[in-house]
Amino acid sequence: MTQTSIAEAIQSAHREIMRDDDRVILLGEDVEAGGVFRITNGLRDEFGPQRVFDTPLSEAGFTGAAIGAAIGGMRPIVEIQFVDFILPALNQLISEAAKMRYRSLGAWTVPLVVRTPYGGGVHGGLYHSQSMEALFAHVPGLKVVMPATPADAKALLHSAVQDPDPVIFLEHKRSYRLIREEIPDPLPPVAIGQAALRRDGQDVAIIATGLALHHGLAAAEQLQAENIDCLVLDLRTVLPLDKPAILSAARRTGKVLIVHEDHLTGGIGGEVAAIIAAEAFEHLDAPIQRLAGPDIPAMGYHPALEQAFLPNPDTIAQAARRLAAY
């Protein structure tokens, strides 16, 4: 079998989804020409100008239009070119999409998927590198997924489009072509809200998402040689969090390291830590640790600044090592 990248997996998910359901439409800036990451390449040719659709440069406008189209019976997929540019659309997403079903007692619903690349490592500087999952993970009414592997990216995009509620679908841009694997055919579905145990272990639990998950796995490899046995949990969905999976990882190891690329304060790691501190307290053998980007506005463009921001296998291994020794 061939190795499929995350970018290819998302591409082919689009094709399958749009073939299956002609209510699905795709819109965003430059999507007709393939988008800046070429994710939507070829879709305009296959599905035509009604279904693959370049929008004016106005995130609030076209996200809102997609919300309207979803209410009106379509199944829109919106591409936001970089998650950094989603802020103008936040009002539409938080005030409207997230609250529509609730406030109308289910009369109106918003089956919408907003896909957008996030994360650093591509020299994107302050405004093409940010992680913004925490903004969305605080919004009841939304679901927020962050696939880390090609198979998950594909399966979760299927689940997101089938979901009757709005889903924010975050794609780590550095991982698009970096992470590859064989994707089984047929592909087992992945439900939104389920974490995946990527590696079992009993000494330290590393809980991560996106590219940080792969760094966590690499760190676990390193530590194996030192006889430190790490469990690695891939959250996959950050709203709703998979509490049972988080708690069982914490209970199994008693030592937890939460890793994310987004900066520390107010990041999703705080919520994960709080859940564990409340509900797995008696199983803890060490302080709950978080490793995250530093509390600065975003990562710098210069490679030295960028690298200093990003968690990597070494920094994760070092943190896990300390925890193991606690």
Partner: protein
Amino acid sequence: MTTTQQPQPSAASTGPTSTEHADETRSSPGLTKEDLIRRWYQMVLARKIGERWFVLNRQGKAPFVITGQGHEATQVGTVAALSAGKDWVVPYYRDLGVALALGMTPDELMLNVFAKADDPNSGGRQMPAHWSHKRLRMVSGSSVVGTQLPIAAGLAWAAKLQGHDAVAVTYLGEGSTNQGEFHEGLNFAAVQRLPLVVVVENNGYAITEIQAKEMAIADVADRAQAYGVRGAVVDGNDLIEVHRAMQIAVQAARRGHGPTLLEAKTYRIVPHSSDDDDRRYRTREELDLWRARDPIDRLRKHLLEARILTSEQADELIAKAAEELRGAEAFAAAAPDPDPASLATHLYADSTTPSTSSIP
């Protein structure tokens, strides 16, 4: 280099506008005599319900109300040009008259003001006057002004993609046209020539702020030129004129000619809401000026002059409206309140009880 426009003087929008028409144009194609009577009755009923809401607020039976007295011709007249239940409607908080004219019953309106469990708008979750009705294709809005523009554009887009000839209509105040989402939503619809009508109920005020503090133009309809869509100004206190203008806009939309920005010049003769004291920012003289141009009186006068209605018949209709309202209020007052145990329903399609604390 071409200069496209000189700066315009700020609008003094509180006096009579220049767009009024003489009384000879007293008909609009598509409005029969029966229609005119029915629409006048709806204006009367909307007025009475709005007035009653304020009374209920003062009686402590409704913590908050917001209504549209003075806007009835605009609200009822625009709806009169729609196909209810087929066209999409996204109103704003001022639009009691839109909801009623579209088909929301007095019972439902009174359930709304009492925030009852069976209120079809929101079951007590939203403040009153946040309109929503599934069967009427009236889509729920938030309180955040301006967001309805892109959403209505999206509804128009869905209709077009599905090959329906439904149009989408949305309403907002002139102050709200300063929001970025007005700009983005109308532009989106313009580029795709979507079947959208944007009705601006220009009452000259955004709460306490007169139009001149909101924009340096006199006619909001001029904003159409920024998008390449039709703009039109109409006397919003004249139901027949409103209907005529709306019908042109709706037909253009239905025929694939794209959006219209329809500005109706009107006035609210009540405070912004039950939380507002309008004596802070406008004179009683100004109010009297506009009370003299009351849209309900105006249509009544026409109906009498054109012998569509007698004075006695008009009085009977007013009495009937009062009666309907009384019945609805009694019904709604007795209806069940929302159950706090339902706090989490309809969060997601598959929603269960939400976490309220980390305490097991």
